[in-house]
């Protein structure tokens, strides 16, 4: 039973990880929590859903389309909302409020245009699990885990192994100096939002296949946000670690303590970590920028 619960935890953690990196990516460069991320995920999930059902595309192509769609939506949000605030050097609180505004708007936009129904992806994988003795491992969970690992590795390589990645990291350390060195901050920020949007699109499709697609599914990304905070906002490995820690904590709380206390544990975990290590598990404590 412990093994089964660990596997449950990892499978939940993998989805959280995919979403948490999006929060962290944006935070690392922009220093605010992009609460419209959940709605990008929701729109990505819908994009993938309609690509599969209405256009009849295979899963791989649909994922690609959802990622592209998510990326474009995230960049658009940045251009419409955040870039103006950036030019006025607004404090991060205003960014966050703008993000919430986008979140509420997009959610209701989806309800009005797409409708309040729940949609379910066509059955991509059979529901019969792989059995290891008494332990069941969902086929879908294996696939999600692999996709998450691959996507996160690619992202890590991009951030740490390419020239653009170096520019992103430079901007995250010090945007002013980076721009003095000839890095175009607008371009870097657009790329960061595209990457975050693309991971949200991918996360949305995975989430949609695993559970279901509906207009207010973005609300659930609050858990991924907690994961990002636990791991250290702004740190990619931290987001991934935080996601798995949170996933396993939740399953254990639900499985062994009481299932009704699950969320109490997630939020308590976050508060404890913030109190003990304000920067999160792997985050570095940075001075608040004025």
């Amino acid at each position: 039973m412990i093994l089964q619960q660990i596997i449950n935890g990892i499978s939940i953690g993998a989805v959280y990880a995919m979403i948490a990196v999006g929060y962290s990516l944006v935070y690392s460069v922009m220093n605010f929590s992009n609460f419209a991320h959940g709605e990008v995920l929701m729109l990505g999930a819908y994009a993938g859903f309609f690509a599969m059902t209405s256009l009849g595309l295979p899963l791989g192509l649909s994922i690609g389309l959802a990622m592209l769609g998510g990326g474009i939506i995230a960049v658009t949000i940045e251009k419409i909302g955040y870039s103006r605030l950036r030019k006025r050097q607004a404090s991060s609180l205003y960014f966050m409020i703008t993000a919430m505004g986008f979140s509420v708007f997009l959610q209701n936009f989806a309800i009005v245009t797409i409708g309040p129904n729940f949609r379910s992806y066509p059955d991509v994988f059979p529901i019969t699990p792989y059995l290891l003795g008494n332990i069941a491992i969902g086929r879908l969970d294996v696939v999600i885990f692999l996709i998450t690992i691959i996507a996160l590795s690619l992202l890590t390589w991009f951030i740490y192994g390419t020239k653009i990645g170096t520019a992103i990291r430079a901007t995250s350390y010090n945007p002013k100096v980076a721009s003095l060195m000839g890095i175009n901050p607008d371009l870097v920020i657009a790329i960061v939002f595209f990457l975050a949007g693309a991971t949200a699109g991918l996360g949305g499709v995975l989430f949609g296949i695993k559970y279901t697609v509906y207009a207010w599914m973005g609300v659930l990304t609050i858990k991924a946000f907690i994961a990002a905070v636990v791991g250290g906002l702004g740190s990619l490995p931290g987001a991934v670690l935080g996601a798995f820690v949170l996933g396993i904590t939740e399953t254990f709380a639900a499985g062994y303590v009481s299932s009704s206390f699950r969320d109490l544990f997630s939020f308590a975990l976050m508060v404890i970590i913030i109190v003990l290590r304000p920067g999160g598990l792997l985050g570095t404590v940075t001075q608040e920028k004025a």
């Binding site: 309800i111 729940f118 279901t212 609050i222 699950r262 508060v271």
Partner: protein
């Protein structure tokens, strides 16, 4: 750094509040349905002021599928009644508001119906939690409210000896459905070990679970697992893993179709083969759509068979008008309206207080889901029978009828 902590914590607080009550809130829609308009001439009830009746339910949000089905059922009935000359020679006008499945919205909607629109009566609400919140408002405004689907006993009798004078309902109540669930599992399925999965934040779910447990233990069964989750959860595997470990014969799942679909799927993924048994939160075509083969072979307790011969005509009319299949909530909406109509006719006048007096102890009202006799002590319909529906080949199939509620 402190500033960052503060901002983060505050944000999380705000967000968790928001996530408890999904922000799925489009600009409040106020629609006054003028169903009466076109019929006025043929029915020769010109120059007569329409009888205003209110309705509230969820047209957006989690429960929108049900709310829409119920509203459609009521609207269709209103249209048919108006075409046949209305009630007491007056056409009926329905005023409705979207409550989005949130208590606060329903309270506002009800106040608006009572004080601004001045309706004579309100057709209800399908959720116990919301109906319980609305009951005191109806008392205060002295307007009768007929609930369609709120099955918690506290809807009409909040505590021993207290009766909500203005609240009535047309559905059976949770103690009965808990008992039927237990009896069915024991006698028909021959189960001995039961597991319960329930939604801790829902009055309905907790109610059925309590009554099921009581009846089940009395029959001699054992409860091997009793697991809870919270409204809005999408992952049930930690709970299901505990249930799997306990190896039950049946899993009792008294909650709504979206969670049923997700938990059923995850149960099958974990290799759980026990029979799943549910309540009147199950019937929605969305259940079959999302859950697919995972709910195959499961049973649930419902208020009526939507394919029964008595429903054929209504079913066809409904399909004609909305191009959708009738759902159980459409029937309950129709029944609540018919009860109201009978009460207005009995009272001889369309005034709130007179309607309330007429509802008290009204009997032999023939409706689609049976005959309604209101018990003056509890305001519950006496003698309504539950039916068992089985999910077979991806369809809801009538299985059997149970003895009626006493």
């Amino acid at each position: 750094m402190k500033k960052f902590m503060f901002v983060t914590l505050i944000t999380v607080l705000i967000l968790s509040a928001v996530s408890c009550a999904p922000a799925a809130a489009p600009e409040e829609e106020v629609v006054v349905e003028e169903a009466a308009e076109e019929v006025v001439e043929e029915a020769a009830v010109e120059d007569v002021e329409p009888i205003k009746i209110g309705w509230t339910g969820a047209l957006t949000g989690d429960q929108a599928v049900w709310g829409t089905a119920e509203k459609n059922g009521v609207m269709l009935t209103v249209e048919q009644i108006n075409a046949a000359g209305g009630i007491l020679g007056r056409p009926v006008e329905m005023v409705y508001y979207d409550g989005k499945g949130e208590q606060l919205e329903y309270i506002n909607a009800l106040k608006r119906l009572i004080y601004e629109d001045e309706v004579v009566a309100v057709i209800g609400q399908n959720s116990s939690g919301n109906q319980i919140a609305m009951a005191p408002i109806a008392e205060e405004g002295k307007v009768p409210i007929i609930s369609t689907f709120a099955t918690n006993p506290r809807v009409t009798v909040p505590e021993e000896g207290v009766l909500m004078r203005y609240t009535y309902r047309v559905c059976f109540i949770d103690p009965y459905s808990g008992e039927v669930t237990a009896k069915f599992a024991w006698e028909d399925l021959g189960a001995k070990k039961a597991a319960v999965l329930y939604e801790i934040s829902s009055d309905y779910s907790v109610g059925v679970r309590d009554y099921f447990k009581k009846a089940w233990l009395e029959l001699g069964g054992t409860i091997v697992a009793d697991e809870a989750f919270k409204t809005g959860d999408v992952d049930f595997r930690p709970q299901l893993t505990s249930i799997k470990e306990a190896d039950p014969d049946v899993i009792v799942m008294p909650f709504l179709f979206k969670e049923v679909a997700l938990s059923a799927k995850q149960a099958r993924e974990l290799g759980i083969t026990a029979t799943m048994l549910g309540g009147d939160g199950w019937p929605s075509l969305q259940l079959l759509e999302i859950a697919g083969e995972a709910v195959e072979g499961s049973y649930y307790i419902d208020h009526a068979d939507v394919k029964a011969p008595s429903v054929v005509k209504f079913r066809a009319d409904y399909k004609d008008k909305y191009d959708k299949e009738v759902e159980i909530l459409s029937l309950m909406g129709h029944d609540a309206f018919m009860l109201l109509k009978a009460a207005i006719e009995k009272a001889g006048v369309a005034e709130s207080e007179a309607i309330r007096d007429a509802l008290e102890g009204i009997s032999d009202v023939e409706v689609l889901t049976g005959t309604i006799n209101i018990d003056p002590d509890t305001h519950n319909p006496v003698g309504k029978a539950a039916v068992i529906i089985k999910i077979e080949n991806g369809e809801f199939v009538f299985y059997k009828t149970f003895e009626p509620m006493q």
